[in-house]
Amino acid sequence: MTSARERGAQVEISFVVNGEPRAVRAYPMERLLDVLRHQLQLTGAKEGCGEGECGSCSVLMDGILVNSCLVPVLQAEGSNLVTIEGLAAGETLHVLQEAFLECGGAQCGICTPGMILAAFYLSNGKPEPTVTEIREGLSGNLCRCTGYSQIVEAVAEAARRRSAA
């Protein structure tokens, strides 16, 4: 609950980022993307289009995939955020990250954090997605290197590894 303030006033906003409680001072309409990158130095989320079309700024907010360029930071108050930096366990990469590396799922790398988080979100709901489900799950993420085949293959490979594990 935040009360009305003078225009232009910064507010204190707290959330959990990648498992750690964090607090920032920011203007309520600052984009979550900018706060993550500039204040918390979490530069994995990228700005592509800045209007919710490309998915390169994807993060998870309370478990759901969102475009952080479209989230005013005030709406992230009290939430649990996961960025690409939070996926690996220390030095051990997440199975999706491994699969992207091995299948050539990253070229220039700009779309990769968003692709991996969109795939992570998909696999939380559907541990064994079909190729069609993978394509639908990643339909909000654009890759301008157009390496889509390897990206889809990487997500399928990660699912195979999870089910074999």
Partner: protein
């Protein structure tokens, strides 16, 4: 030009009461923001005129779906993901369900709300024609109280609505009276993922006694507001679906719509496509009902033979024949699913065995048979070939792995492997097969039965529309 966040004030009062109280204090100054999929785009482009924003994201009173005997009440703060996951919407309001899945990518479906879409008032929004077709009503709320109005009156001009300066859309109500109707939704855009429509249609109809008994047609991107085509509906009502009706309906559509040239399309193209979409809808409405009407009147033996290829179980086909007359597609599917679930395992088995083994379909060279109502087992083979077309086109290595896994499955479970192959590649099917090899016998029987049920639904829909 990017906006400066220090120029904006924003609050998140957390309850509906607090939000409307704030809006009442300074009417018109506070602009609600839900998931930001429209407001933040304007903000990023430096085109957001409002300077004070009130968050309506995730307010419990706005994010609930309530189902009563007469209607479904969808909170305006429900996201497209909420809508596409709701069972009643999926079953009774398929036009809204499809539109929810067409709107944006996953992340935008997780944040974009139905209320936001309504208030944003884009004539190109995919979900709004569906609300018109289902005759939605809106409940608007302010500190002064609630009021309820027909959605069709809400948009008064391009991006103009009946919403007062202190009001919020609270609920979208859809009457539950279109269960037996034929539903038709289609979007024409530059591509299928994330493209804004050039033209889209949401339409409902019921056919009885050889004529169009009732019809609702709504189009997007053809006027300053999402448009219900009342004159076209009036012309179609009570008519036989023939070339005269199709021609006059096309003319009525052209007279009713007011399309423009813009970045996505031209008025001329939109007029042609709008006519085609209505033409297609009426044609399909007629053919679905024709197939059923003819089937309903066949002698029982012929009726059983005609529907058998949709499932493959004689017991199922006999029960279906006995359950006639079935009024429409919805009644047919309900009867088909109930009948399927009530069969014994040995009756399921007969249906399983009616399929060619995956990857060994010998049906691809068969000629289509006609007429469809008198379809035969050959029809089943032809459908199998369509369903397994991705397998037929796949690499030799995958095909041979599939053949091996099929043999293993047959040795293990003593019957052929059943999977709803439509849209699945050989590699996907192989993966599924390998996973299911690990099932115990009971689990696997039910999984196979569920797959066969899905195949049956797809085939029934094709059967209605040949």
């Amino acid at each position: 030009m990017r906006s400066n966040p220090s120029d904006y004030e924003m609050v998140a009062p957390g309850s509906l009461h607090a939000i409307v109280s704030l809006m009442a204090k300074e009417p018109g100054l506070w602009v609600p923001i839900a998931g930001g999929t429209d407001v933040m785009v304007q903000y990023a482009a430096g085109r957001l005129p409002a300077r004070k924003l009130v968050s309506v994201w995730n307010i419990p009173e706005l994010r609930c779906i309530e189902v009563t005997a007469g209607e479904i009440r969808i909170g305006a703060g429900c996201t497209y993901t909420d809508l596409s996951r709701d069972e009643v919407i999926g079953r009774e309001f398929p036009l809204l369900h499809s539109a929810a899945r067409w709107t944006g990518g996953v992340a935008n479906q997780n944040r974009g709300t139905i209320g936001g879409n309504i208030v944003n008032a884009s004539p190109a929004a995919d979900s709004l024609p569906a609300l018109l077709a289902y005759e939605a009503e809106l409940i608007l709320v302010s500190a002064r109280g609630e009021r309820r109005l027909p959605y069709v009156t809400f948009h008064t001009g391009y991006k103009r609505t009946q919403l007062a300066a202190d009001e919020l859309v609270q609920t979208v109500c859809l009457p539950r009276r279109f269960a037996g109707y034929f539903n038709h939704a289609r979007k024409v855009g530059a591509r299928s993922a994330q493209a804004i429509s050039k033209v889209c249609i949401a339409a409902l109809g019921r056919f009885a006694g050889g004529v169009v008994e009732d019809v609702r047609i709504a189009l997007g991107s053809v006027a300053p507001v999402p448009l219900r085509l009342r004159e076209t509906e009036r012309i179609a009502r009570g008519k036989v679906i023939d070339s005269d009706l199709l021609l006059s309906a096309r003319q009525a559509v052209a007279a009713e719509i007011r399309p423009i040239d813009d970045v996505r399309s031209t008025a001329r193209y939109r007029t042609a496509v709008a006519g085609n979409l209505v033409f297609e809808f009426l044609n399909r409405l007629g053919s679905v009902e024709n197939v059923l009407a003819r089937w309903n009147h066949l002698p029982i033996d012929e009726a059983v033979r005609a529907i058998l290829p949709c499932c493959g179980s004689t017991a199922w086909a006999r029960v279906m024949g006995a359950r006639r007359p079935l009024a429409d597609e919805a009644a047919l599917l309900v009867a088909a699913n109930e009948t399927w679930r009530n069969l014994t395992p040995s009756e399921w088995l007969e249906a399983f065995q009616s399929h060619p083994r995956i990857g060994e379909s010998r049906a691809s060279s068969l000629e289509p048979r006609s007429p469809p109502v008198l379809s035969s087992p050959d029809q089943s083979l032809k459908w199998s070939a369509q369903e397994q077309s991705n397998v037929a086109d796949s690499e030799a290595a995958v095909k041979s792995a599939l053949a091996d896994a099929n043999r293993e499955y047959e040795q293990r479970f003593n019957r052929i492997f059943i999977v709803c192959a439509t849209g699945k590649s050989a590699a996907e099917i192989l993966e599924i097969l390998r996973r299911r090899l690990k099932n115990d016998a009971e689990t696997e029987l039910h999984e196979a039965a569920e797959q066969q049920r899905q195949i049956m639904e797809i085939r029934l829909r094709k059967w209605l529309q040949v």
